[in-house]
């Protein structure tokens, strides 16, 4: 079995390509998902996230490339972004059907447990036809968890949830780390940053980056410094922009200037002098903390 960072890879693809006519929905994707990780698959709409998850789940076939899964099909579960169920089944029956199909030896008591865990305690005996989108999403989560899958594929699981529901799902996903492997697709980048330890960025079907989230945040972003001044942020920005070690300088809010620099070392050496030359009334200086959203926008721009 292939390993990465000391951990076995549970899902691995090589040159995975999926074409529809002349359009490549996936273009030679090499995916590497380590066992026990929470892998965030991010990308704009149409970047191939759902196609990749569908191929992993066996719902679509790749045009070319290879795929290796370290689990049996029955030990894998897919939660689509808009789960739907027979409207005349109750929540209990939906999850019980999932249990019986995946592994009938799982005790029926687990059905109630996962429904409670998914926040559907009061709707256990209600028919799915009357559920809101958020409740359907929770029901999807429950019917995914009931089979105790080793690999969970979650396609935009928070897309229909209210803030409280979103919080619960994120906590639930985060709690899976180490217990099972999760591939979590989303375009809500703060969600991915919060719960995932590994990130893959898809753009137009190609994998632009794949690796630990921390590597992405520290290694793929132009270093920057946030400077707060008492007055005239515009004037300070104009002055700093003339420095050779500054790549960009802009007033981003009242009294706040973002300074892009060639390197953090240079910034630490040169910035005090440059601010003095600009006549800035300095309030504070701090290194800019990169967010996944900023890195993502820079990479996909």
């Amino acid at each position: 079995m292939t390993t990465e960072g000391g951990r076995a890879l549970l899902a691995e693809t090589h040159g995975l390509t999926k074409s529809y006519g002349g359009h490549a929905a996936l273009d030679a994707v090499d995916l590497r998902v380590a066992e026990g990780s929470v892998y965030g698959l991010v990308g704009p709409n149409g970047s191939g996230k759902t196609t990749l998850l569908s191929i992993l789940a066996g719902l679509r076939r790749p045009t070319s490339g290879t795929m290796r899964l370290g689990v049996a099909r029955g030990a894998m579960a897919l939660l689509p972004d808009t789960p739907e169920f027979e409207p005349w089944l109750t929540a209990f029956e939906v999850v019980d059907l999932a249990r019986a199909l995946v592994n009938p030896s799982i005790p029926r008591e687990r059905v109630t447990d996962v429904l409670v865990e998914a926040g559907l305690r009061d709707a256990i005996d209600r028919r799915a036809g009357g559920f809101s989108r958020g409740m359907l999403q929770r029901l999807g989560v429950a019917s995914t968890l009931v089979g105790d899958p080793a690999l969970m594929l979650m396609d935009e699981p928070c897309s229909a949830l209210d803030p409280m529901g979103r919080r619960e799902v994120l906590d639930l996903v985060a709690s899976q780390r180490g217990r099972r492997t999760v591939i979590f697709s989303s375009h809500i980048l703060s969600d991915v940053q919060e719960v995932c330890d590994t990130v893959g960025i898809l753009q137009r079907g190609a994998m632009r980056f794949q690796g630990p989230l921390q590597d992405l945040l520290t290694g793929n972003r132009t270093p920057g410094v946030l400077v707060r001044v008492r007055d005239d942020a515009e004037g300070v920005a104009r002055s700093l922009a003339t420095e050779p070690w500054v790549t960009s300088a802009a007033a981003i809010a009242a009294g706040e200037v973002r300074v892009g620099v060639r390197s953090t070392d240079e910034a630490e050496r040169e910035l005090p002098g440059a601010l003095a030359r600009a006549g800035a009334r300095l309030v504070s200086v701090r290194p800019e903390e990169a967010s996944l959203e900023q890195v993502f926008l820079e990479m996909t721009r």
């Binding site: 719902l59 679509r60 076939r61 808009t82 739907e84 027979e86 005349w88 029956e93």
Partner: protein
């Protein structure tokens, strides 16, 4: 909950099972009544002023023939509609994903649904035929039980064939409406094309659909339907194999 129970609940909670049964039982009640009182009905409602229409006295077979003539049209459409609603399981992608990512094989899904809806169609057809047979006995006279049983058996096999055609159609198209139209074509087109050749007619599945009529009349024997029974069984098997392969290969 098993796939069998899922389909049972679908039949019960969507009222499809009751609806199917009601259609055939209704025609089972109506057929012998029409056969027995056709003279009176025409005289009262026919509007044939000045024209005297005389029907020969009804015979027991007429009750069964009237039942069949209705069941072969409305009943057939009802069976196709109900079966298509269940067998076109890729019509809603997210429901298909729920099932396809959990069942061990597509064959299990297809065979369970085909069996349940074939059974529902058979029960409905047999119930209607039994009602027609009893009412015919009460109003007109007795159709011999052995002839009734053979005719009903052949008719029931025909409805299994119809449901198998729905499964095949569901393998070729995704939507319920498309499945219905295609299945109807699979069932009817051979009858109105190949069936016009008199030598071919005894081989066709459609020959079984009306077996109850000549058997009730005494103009045919059970052995006359062996060829179509064999061919129908072969077609059912081939249709199911094809449906499973097609549905297995389909991407969702």
């Amino acid at each position: 909950m098993s796939l069998w129970r899922l389909e049972w609940l679908r039949l019960r909670r969507t009222w499809r099972g009751v609806g199917l049964l009601a259609v055939f039982v209704f025609f089972g009640l109506l057929g012998p009544l029409t056969a027995r009182y056709i003279q009176e009905i025409i005289e009262r409602f026919g509007g044939t002023e000045g024209v005297q229409v005389t029907f020969p006295p009804p015979v027991p077979a007429d009750g069964m023939i009237q039942y069949l003539s209705n069941a072969q049209q409305i009943g057939l459409l009802a069976v196709i509609g109900v079966a298509a609603g269940a067998l076109s399981f890729d019509a809603t992608a997210d429901i298909a994903i729920f099932l396809r990512t959990r069942v061990s094989s597509t064959a299990r899904l297809v065979l369970t649904r085909t069996a349940v809806y074939a059974a529902a169609a058979v029960v409905a057809f047999v119930a209607g035929a039994a009602v027609a047979w009893y009412e015919t006995w009460a109003l007109i006279g007795l159709v011999p039980a052995d002839r009734f049983l053979f005719g009903t058996l052949f008719g029931a096999l025909y409805y299994v064939f119809v449901v198998a055609m729905v499964a095949l159609a569901a393998g070729l198209v995704r939507g319920s409406l498309g499945t219905m139209v295609l299945a109807f074509a699979f069932v009817v087109v051979p009858q109105v094309t190949v069936g016009l050749v008199s030598a071919a007619k005894p081989w066709l599945p459609g020959h079984l659909s009306s077996a109850l009529a000549p058997l009730s009349q005494g103009t045919a024997e059970a052995g006359d339907f062996v060829r179509s029974t064999v061919l129908t069984l072969v077609v059912i098997a081939l249709a199911l194999v094809a449906a499973i392969r097609l549905l297995d290969r389909r991407e969702v």
